[in-house]
């Protein structure tokens, strides 16, 4: 049998301090731990409305700059950062639709970073969707609860993500 030139792989259990300590008795039982964690999240919800409005304003400002100059990479990065933050936290804090709209807008901003042409109507329809998703009566809804909006935004992402071929290619 032909032998390769690599030395044998070493296999070992690290048994880290994290694993040893976490297995020790005295921890918080799962159900209780999750309830306490959820309570901590609920406490943060008090000022989440303020945070989401601030983040929305930052996003709005960055998108306005982008509209002025679609090649402004700084504005594009600021918009993407702000949109990502809305996407990553919304669902945890009970704003499921905000996460969905932010996710589709992030996909579009990714497409712009990748060379797709800027389209202000695409941005405008997402900002309208954000305003709707922020409302108390909509924020708990899942994307499947508003199928028209969901299908519309996904279709917009599909169309906006097409990178046109370079002339002559």
């Amino acid at each position: 049998m032909k032998k390769n030139n690599y030395p044998e792989a070493k296999l070992f259990y690290a048994d880290t301090r994290f694993e040893r300590q976490a297995r020790k008795p005295g921890g918080t039982e799962r159900k209780n731990a999750i309830e306490k964690a959820q309570a901590a999240v609920d406490d943060l919800k008090v000022d989440f409305g303020v945070w989401i409005d601030e983040e929305f304003n930052i996003l709005n400002a960055a998108l306005a700059e982008l509209e002025g100059d679609p090649r402004d990479k700084g504005a594009l990065e600021r918009a993407h950062k702000s949109c990502s933050q809305l996407r990553d936290v919304g669902g945890t804090m009970g704003f499921q639709l905000v996460t969905f709209v932010a996710r589709t807008l992030c996909d579009i901003l990714d497409a712009y970073i990748g060379g797709s042409p800027y389209d202000k109507e695409v941005i405008a329809c997402h900002m309208d969707a954000f305003k709707l998703a922020r409302l108390e009566q909509y924020r708990h809804l899942q994307p499947e609860d508003v199928p028209e909006m969901t299908a519309g935004l996904l279709r917009v992402v599909e169309l906006a993500s097409i990178v046109p071929p370079e002339p002559g290619k």
Binding site: Y6, F18, E19, T28, A37, A39, A40, V41, D88, M93
Partner: protein, 198 residues
């Protein structure tokens, strides 16, 4: 995540580092961890702060955003794992990402992360992933090209029992990112399905 429903984990006195540029998300994760019983939670917003924290004290668990600026969670994980002089080399690393395409999850696994948690996170989702690291420890593999938790998987064969036929040709196709995976699919990609350790 089977087997986690009745598990209790003890996070008291463990130093847990949360690395994410989103200050609100750090507060949320910090709150969750304290709800689980953790009392030493540190936060950093970029990778420079992360390395500073790792070099100035012993950290027991790292929760790191996949897109942590400026280096990103994958590169950071590889850096931590590959440095043989680094005392944090076997540090449990939990990557957090909103991008859960199969390629991203596989990249996270191949970088040496212990697990990937999909954003937005829930308390139960986070607790169960921590429990998975504790109660289903994977051996570390040290080779010339990889250092990290064992990535080997049982080959299940082709779907429906259909194998590759003699006349089939191998063709190159473009890389497919694929649809977003849910957390159970992500867990499966990280599971060690070696014989007797499923």
């Amino acid at each position: 995540m089977p087997g986690m429903k009745n598990s209790t984990i003890n996070l008291r006195d463990l130093v847990i580092l949360v690395a994410d540029q989103n200050s609100y998300l750090r507060r949320v994760v910090n709150g969750m961890l304290r709800g689980f019983g953790a009392n030493k939670v540190l936060e950093v917003e970029h990778s420079n702060g992360l390395f500073q924290a790792l070099s100035s004290q012993k950290v027991d668990l790292l929760l790191c955003d996949m897109r942590l600026p400026p280096h990103g969670g994958l590169k950071l994980t590889r850096t931590i794992r590959r440095n043989s002089d680094n005392e944090n080399r076997t540090l449990p690393i939990l990557l957090m990402s909103s991008d859960t395409s199969e390629s991203t999850v596989k990249n996270a696994r191949d970088s040496g992360a212990n697990i990937l948690v999909a954003k937005p996170m829930s308390p139960s989702g986070l607790y169960d992933r921590l429990g998975w690291i504790v109660f289903n420890p994977r051996p570390f593999v040290d080779t010339a090209t990889y250092f990290g938790p064992d990535r080997r998987f049982k080959i299940e064969g082709y779907p429906g029992g259909v194998g590759r036929r003699k006349g089939d040709k191998i063709i190159d196709v473009a890389a497919e990112e694929g649809p977003a995976l849910d957390q159970s699919d992500i867990d499966n990609l990280f599971s060690n399905a070696r014989s007797g350790q499923e």
